[in-house]
Symmetry: C2
Subunit: 762 residues, 2 copies
């Protein structure tokens, strides 16, 4: 049995030897090159484009502009399609946009025989604009008189919702309540996946094929069809290995345009690869949020009512839109349980910044930063132990959410907290760092987090799977769920081996999704794959096993119910698990039978109608250099209850990666725009401060393995949660060290130095 063990990744050998083929490796060397023409204003309209000089550049094959594309607005968010218009994502962009909505917006494209010709042509294009003032924040965008970025959205509000549990106004009338307020701000950050955004497209039998580094091949097919106004079956998406996505590739980025480009030149192959700089300003980012929290509680610490008001910066186009802020409100509404009432009000607002979309954590890093900073501030103000205060108000064991029907089965929070406390010597250090003075001070801080696995019932959760038995008893498995570097294929192989009863090495996962062939699955997002995909694998493996045992019953003359598959052999369970024949023998005899030949395969669709809470926490220790306004992270531990660990080493790697993102989110990463032009100023890997290995302490991981009752393999989300609690834990450690709760991340010297000065620490 390999499940639960740290078996090596199925793709390790290919990736370590450099032999694994990514999209860029698969594009033929003579591919035509597509390059984008970007707007050089942040808000306005293209008045005219003169391409005459550009078309004369030798090697140019074709130039298309925003005046040439179909008049079809389409959505880009990587969600399964909904046939209910009320549940569809905003369709608010065209392949190229005459209406410019951010600095860098796509207004044209060049196809050339090589990159140099393409770049030369781009430089020769002349564009005339009609320019409007840029609005870069929700506050600015919502002001009266701000120019409307999209028609039909007054005050640039994409969506505004209010959810109230209980009667908030009534609840706060209770006498003797204390009131706390806080405003918390998170930055625009980006995924910074290793592999660029890249695709190539060509036509085959008058259908369009797009090979793309995407997390969502089946969804992408639908979007390409929509964007081009062609029947979806006329589109084929192929997804090779993906070198990182983190949500950016859970969007249709440039695949629809790539498909359009090949269509314009009779199906010749066009490669469209973005530079790192283009990825920064032109793909997707994490929504910056500004969150107002108000809490009413009794002097004993019991929270009676809270209010959450968030402004989420959508940027130029709709993408995943309001669902990001909405997921944050779920964290607000569930992590702590107010005794009487709570109210969540959220605004998602168009601005002239980069389009915000899905990013690992999907709105929870922002919400949890606000919630866990706020709760810490209250505990500090009340001089209560922050853990005791949290547990007093926490979602209790046994809690069931009305909407999702999620159940909080185990005392996961306390188990995770205990692991972290012990590791970081919490009690000793809380005490030791209590009354520091001087320029260098240390502190410990922590944060809980709320997360739920997969997206049901917000949208459908479907994973189809097909298994094919070979004549040697080995099995191929195909599913729509995608390997994007996270190790999905490896756990899929482990699950298949477990349920079928064959050795792990005998499972061959087809890693490339091809929408013509691969069973439908919505792809890598929502920390859904090992949960929902796992259910699909389980269902299909059981179907395959049933077929196998039925046939084995014919061969062995034993009742199928007395047979099982163990280590690739058909055994007689009613007699010491005696081996009757190998699965390979059975498969070969069956395939080549002159009586009843059969290629033994199984296929099924699994629809998940559950999801699962996946909780945990982070504890951080920091050293603050007050004169320099610098925070040095000394120690960070994340503890997770992600159910049964499918592969401990892969699980640890997932957590390490998430912790690293949390460090950047808390301490160094942010998009900085020129306020006048709306141009991104630090959109490159030198100026955008992604933490390097020098910024990482040892990253410690702790796991609590409560077997998840809703999953056939006992597992639940671990893909996204690790990104969530790190930043507030660091922020709270700084509070512990300095007495100052800083409400805006990243905690750079630019933020800390003035705060320290104002507080009199300098």
């Amino acid at each position: 049995m390999s499940l639960g063990k740290s078996v090596p990744r199925v793709d390790a050998y290919e990736k370590v030897t450099g032999r694994a083929k990514y999209t860029g490796d698969l594009a033929p060397p003579n591919a035509l090159i597509g390059k984008l023409l970007h707007a050089t204003i942040a808000n306005g309209r293209v008045a005219h484009i003169d391409t005459r000089e550009a078309e004369a550049v030798p090697g140019v094959v074709k130039i298309v502009t925003c005046f040439d594309v179909p008049d079809i607005p389409f959505p880009t968010a990587g969600h399964p399609w909904s046939t209910d218009p009320a549940h569809q994502d905003p369709a608010d962009r065209k392949l190229l946009n005459q209406r410019v909505r951010f600095y860098g917006d796509d207004i044209g494209a060049v196809i050339a025989e090589n990159e140099i010709a393409a770049v030369r042509a781009l430089r020769a294009v002349k564009v005339a604009y009609e320019e409007y003032p840029a609005v870069l924040t929700p506050e600015a965008a919502m002001q009266d008189g701000a120019s409307l970025i999209h028609e039909g959205f007054p005050h640039n509000i994409l969506k505004h919702t209010v959810i109230e549990d209980g009667n908030f106004e009534e609840a706060i009338k209770e006498e003797g309540l204390l009131r706390f307020e806080g405003v918390y701000e998170t930055p625009i950050v980006q995924h910074c996946h290793l592999e660029p955004v890249i695709s190539f497209a060509y036509m085959e039998n008058r259908r369009i094929v797009v090979v793309s580094s995407t997390q969502i091949p089946h969804i992408l097919r639908r979007i390409v069809g929509q964007a081009l106004g062609i029947s979806w079956g006329k589109v084929r998406i192929i997804k090779p290995y993906v070198g990182g996505g983190f949500g950016n590739k859970q969007d249709a980025l440039y695949e629809p345009l790539n498909a359009f480009l090949t269509q314009q030149i009779g199906g010749r192959l066009v490669k469209l690869e973005l530079s790192r700089e283009e990825i920064f300003f032109g793909t997707r980012v994490r929504h910056a949020e500004k969150i107002y929290l108000t809490t009413y509680l009794r002097p004993n610490g019991r929270i009676v009512a809270r209010k959450y008001k968030a402004y989420s910066n959508q940027g130029a186009y709709g993408s995943h839109g309001h669902s990001i802020a909405a997921k944050g409100t779920n964290a607000f509404r569930q992590l702590y349980q107010d005794e009487k009432a709570r109210q969540a009000e959220i605004f998602t607002v168009y601005t002239n910044t980069a389009t915000a979309g899905a990013m690992r954590g999907y709105g929870t890093p922002q919400a949890i930063f606000a919630i866990e900073s706020h709760i810490e501030d209250i505990a500090a103000a009340l001089n209560m132990d922050p853990l005791e205060f949290r547990f007093m108000n926490l979602m209790p064991v046994g809690f069931t959410d009305n909407f999702s029907k999620n159940v909080h089965y185990f005392d996961s929070f306390r188990q995770c907290v205990d692991k972290c406390k012990a590791y970081i010597h919490w009690d000793e250090k809380r005490d030791q760092y209590k009354n520091q003075t001087g320029p260098i001070r240390r502190g410990v801080g922590m944060s809980l987090f709320w997360y739920n696995t997969a997206v049901w019932p917000i949208s459908i959760e479907v994973s189809s799977c097909r298994m094919v038995l070979n004549e040697d008893g080995s099995v191929q498995i195909q599913l729509g769920e995608t390997e994007i570097g996270q190790g999905a294929d490896t756990v899929f192989a482990q699950m298949t081996a477990e349920t079928l009863g064959i050795p792990f090495e005998q499972v061959h996962v087809i890693s490339t999704q091809d929408t013509d062939i691969s069973p439908f699955g919505s792809g890598a997002y929502g920390s859904r794959q090992s949960y929902v995909g796992g259910m699909g694998i389980n269902k299909t493996a059981l179907l395959l096993k049933e077929k196998i045992l039925r046939i084995a019953s014919d061969y062995t003359r034993m009742p199928a119910s007395n047979l099982a598959i163990i280590e690739g052999n058909i055994v007689l369970t009613s007699f010491h698990n005696k081996t009757l024949l190998s699965l390979g023998e059975l498969a070969a005899e069956t395939l080549y039978s002159a009586v009843q030949a059969e290629h033994i395969t199984a296929e099924s669709t699994l629809q998940a109608k559950s999801n699962a809470y996946s909780f945990g926490c982070a504890f951080a220790e920091v050293e603050v250099d007050i004169p320099l306004g610098k925070v040095k992270l000394l120690n960070l531990i994340n503890a997770h209850d992600c159910g049964r660990l499918l592969n401990p080493q892969l699980a640890q790697a997932q957590v390490h990666g998430g912790m690293s993102m949390a460090i950047g989110f808390g301490l160094s990463e942010q998009f900085i725009y020129d306020e006048k032009t709306g141009k991104l100023l630090n959109g490159n890997l030198l100026d955008y401060k992604l933490p390097t290995i020098m910024d990482h302490p040892h990253l410690e991981t702790g796991f609590v393995e409560n077997y998840e009752p809703t999953s056939p393999y006992g597992n639940k989300a671990l893909g996204e949660p690790p990104t969530v609690p790190g930043a507030p834990a660091i922020r709270n450690a700084v509070l512990h060290a300095t007495g100052l709760g800083i409400n805006r991340i990243p905690l750079t010297p630019h933020v800390l130095f003035p705060a320290f000065k104002e507080a009199g620490l300098l």
Copy 2:
């Protein structure tokens, strides 16, 4: 409804525009190059190979010789595996052979960074041999004292069988019988497919992937596994478009060696492409046969008993071996029905010529040449009308074969003959050309042929199929049966459209087989694909339709039995076929259903336990230049009863191609060996006389469409039969023109001139 119509090929656009990707187009430009070291003796043993100088050639990566390969003899014939050892093909060669069995045998291979380095290295290899006398014909090979080419086969007889129906010795005792004898010889010829033999191989996740121009991907996987001694599931075969095979690629040619080569260098990609010259001497050929026929008949023309004795030249290795000669005996035993008895004795004999394998017609062109020449000679000798004589003795309508259970349902022969007679003005010309003199004479001749579709019950007949429904109502189909240029994918799409009730354009055939993914099918051979593959498509399409209508019943609240699919719409059959919803709407609603989501697919394995006679004839008109010994073909018509025509234009193209092969077989093609060294003398496209367009008259085709009762689409074999009757028809036309029955093809001046001289015509 597209079935029965000449819809354009689904691959037409790709192939006409040159965009279709063949194996050679898919190999990366930096592929390592594999080249073969061929023996320069025809019979003997490699004593020693010195590779030191060759290894020093810059760019050489690795050299392997016959001393380095696994000691595993393996079979190469493209038959489905049989788990019964008695039904397995001869396993008599290794990846490289120390025992040299023909001039050009594979004794080593070089892997180099480019072709020049590979060729230079080959030239620098020094080989020492122990040489034995070459035997080039069965007669020579069977002589006492001839050196044994394979151990364990006395007199070099691979196999010898005798089948007797009735009691031959008893039957010929009847008084007053006339006795006729003839000896007929056919040449070694080759397929001359356009695309060379080519493959490339690499390793992926420690499994071996071979991309090959093969007719039989699934079978090839098994053979590669056997040859390398590795588990079959560790091998993956991918088949792109194939540019012709005609049976040569129904063998494992160099794919096992290619797999071995990549294995020897850690999985780096090696391309192995044969030159035309290597294909000639080193791949597969049609078995040359020498057939002795003896017929006993009454003076009224009724045949009482016959004897058939054939020597089939197997060449150096077993390949398809005895099954070729065996298929010929079926033609002998069934086409004409002796009143009392018949005896067929066949020898398949190893020699030091090229290995004979499968070639379009599979033994029937040879047998039919003998049978139809012999019958014509007897009619001429008896001064009987050759058609009347044939019909007097022909397999009657209603005939049922004991072994195969094949039924001769229709009067196909007479219907085909009538078509041809009318076209060629048979009666007039038989009369007109009766008493010619002078140097230039004309004649008309004809030949019937016997053929049966697919290979059951000789071996299993299995075709699995999978269909995937898209959200727009279009469908992908996958099967193991291969498009090798013949138009299979197009008729597969037509069949799918027919059974599902959707437009032809809505069917997307996955043309590339990938053994990891494609449902198992044994591939392109035996004229089986549209027959057996068609059954598999029908079975799977019915399964898919049943699923669709069951779901449609839920959506429409109508009983499934009142629903049908017509032109891509779900209609209510009980009310004027009113459209209720489109298949696309149904598919999208189902895939994205929040209640019961399903990716609608279907998969099944079909095992055929029938085959079907596929009969017809050819009529030819020739002009013989007696002094030059030259035959000019003036007119040729083939008529076929291949059941219902699936696509008349494709059917016609199939027949044209087969007729062209028959012309070469009858008039110009043959392998010529140096008798002393055993070296092939004309193994190139200049010296090997493939007929060119200048050698072709207008090719006329006639079809008789008797709906085949055993097929769901009414069709049966048309792939191979067209090659069969042409050569004897031409030969019989020469007989009509000159009075001389020449019993050895091709009818070159080298054969005709001495024959004319001997007969006193010169």
